[in-house]
């Protein structure tokens, strides 16, 4: 498939991967990702993500067209749908009022419930991993560290921290308590995103929390802010934050039905 593609340009995002925007005669605009396979674990993670995306046929996830591993060079290549739009990080201004935030959350829950139903936890929800399409609908990307609860864990038990983006991680990810990773881990991540959208700043940022700890330490100590000098308290946002940003998963919304029921009543 890659041979049929015409490279348009290199894209800046991708971490360890090289990412190109290309045109395919049938699929249209696609993204080509190439990268090195560094370990069995990273290969297994890539395979799991690719297999999952190949079976998902949803507007909430990019379509997967092609996957190949070159054993000689120890490299992989993936071709997936190019999602028009902006990452949420660059579209924060579109979601500032509680109504706008809860509408977005509602769509995100619809999208995430597809993988939650498959016993999969995204584990890396953050504004950089959500693309807002021109029609305002979100597309969830980068399932590279998703936890497949029905499959063997790929995280080393002795690692001090589980796979995550630390400033968007839950206490259980930060302490590598992998036995309690479940959809409620994603609920916590959604709590951070929602509150960040409302406040315009990271809710665990010590500048606004008013202490000298780091964001990660504040997450571990459950210290966050619901207001900033320029943003006032909102009861609905506060309630949502309270029920998602809890240290113990059993104090968060229990399942996505309860979560969705709460969110859909807020706007």
């Amino acid at each position: 498939m890659i041979r049929d593609c015409t490279i348009i340009k290199e894209l800046p995002l991708g971490g360890q991967k090289k990412v190109h925007l290309a045109e395919h005669p049938v699929a249209g605009k696609v993204v080509i990702k190439r990268g090195a396979i560094k370990s069995f674990t990273s290969l297994e993670r890539i395979k799991r993500e690719v297999e999952l995306l190949s079976e998902l046929d949803s507007i909430y996830y990019p379509k997967q067209y092609h996957f190949n591993i070159d054993i000689k060079t120890k490299e992989f290549e993936i071709v997936e749908d190019f999602i028009e739009g902006k990452v949420l990080r660059d579209a924060l201004a579109q979601f500032r009022t509680p109504d706008e935030i809860f509408k977005l959350l509602n769509s995100l829950i619809d999208g995430l419930s597809i993988i939650w139903d498959k016993n999969i936890v995204h584990r890396d929800l953050k504004p950089e991993n959500i693309i807002i399409r021109p029609n305002g609908m979100p597309c969830i990307i980068d399932l590279g560290i998703a936890r497949f609860l029905d499959l063997e864990s790929l995280t080393k038990t002795i690692s001090p921290m589980g796979p995550c983006t630390p400033i968007y991680a839950t206490p259980e990810q930060l302490t590598n308590n992998k036995n309690i990773i479940d959809p409620r881990t994603d609920f916590f991540n959604l709590g951070i995103i929602a509150l960040e959208l409302y406040l315009g700043v990271h809710p665990f940022d010590p500048t606004y929390v008013g202490n000298h700890y780091s964001i990660v330490e504040n997450i571990l100590q459950n210290k966050y802010t619901l207001v900033t000098p320029s943003v006032t308290y909102d009861d609905k946002i506060a309630q949502f934050s309270y029920q998602t940003l809890q240290t113990q998963p059993y104090n968060r919304f229990r399942n996505y039905t309860i979560l969705k029921s709460f969110v859909s009543k807020q706007y």
Binding site: N179, D182, P249, Y250, R254, N255
Partner: protein, 363 residues
Amino acid sequence: MIFSPVNIDADKLLALDVDLKKTGFLDPQLYLLNEAKGTLDTYPYFPGNLKPDFTTPDLDTSQLQLAQLCIDYQIDNDFKYMIIPTRYYVDYPTSYFEQSTDYFVTPFCEYIRAKNIDKKILLSVIVKSIMLSDEEKRNEVLNWITGHQHIDGVYLIFENNFSSKQIKDFDYLLNALKFIKILKDNQMEVHLGYTNTEALLYSIAMPDSISIGSYENLRSFGIKRFQDLESSPMRAPNARLYSSKLLQWIDYDYIQAMKKLIPDYENFFDDSEFKPLMFQPEFKWHFAKPEPYKHYFYIFDKQIKSLPDSQTDRIEQLKSDIKNALILFKRIKDKVLLDDDSDDSHLPTWFNVINAYQIEITK
């Protein structure tokens, strides 16, 4: 109604009137894999029927079959809820929750889903004292229970290892109430099994149901009930009578003393159709006599049903009942001294627990 395989043959239970079963559920009693006490081995899912000398490793290969047989049996009886069983350990292994998920929760839920069974699912959980007292253990069990997305509630059993007849441990009781509250906050149904009169106390955490057991071994959970202990010595309990006014079971010896020393002693005890017989001079008190148990069943059922629906009213009523019981005990103790299994020594603790829980729910 909770149906107990150790006490009733599987075919007899199947033949029981459906009306009796459609509001209840089965306690599968897979607590011990290898003990076939009572009529347990008449149940198709009993592990010994799957393989002689069934042991834990056999669950690796038999978990699906066991789930199918157990669920099919529950469906054939048309119980209201589908129950996922649990195993009992004296000391829970570190992999307990993982194993329980793999051996019971996952295969049971998958089979229920595959068969398109439209009934609520309850997870059986035995809560050991340490799971209430140790924060880490409590978090672990609560995260595990609430982490199953397809479970509607729990069949909760607080293991009772206390040597006294009543539970008088403030922390234990308060933590039990908080435990129930957390599950209710998670929008789970909570059905309590094996409770004694502390069921009244637990009721203030608003569980969905509380079982009323008549015999002593049905009023507190102990694994001995499921072990074949034919050779071990049996200790016959003293005959006792429950009084809803005293919130206590009174040893028959003290009732005899009260008869001699308190003229209106009968008024300390509730009226029932069994009472006149029990208070006749020729009545031979013995723990195996059915009347005290029938009396308890009738009286305690009435007492539970009289609890107000609103949590606030329920709490206030219970506090008032405890105060009244303490007054009555004072009258008794002016004439008759009681030992601490028949006296009011549990009531101050209960009262304090209620006050502490009231603060907890207003936080």
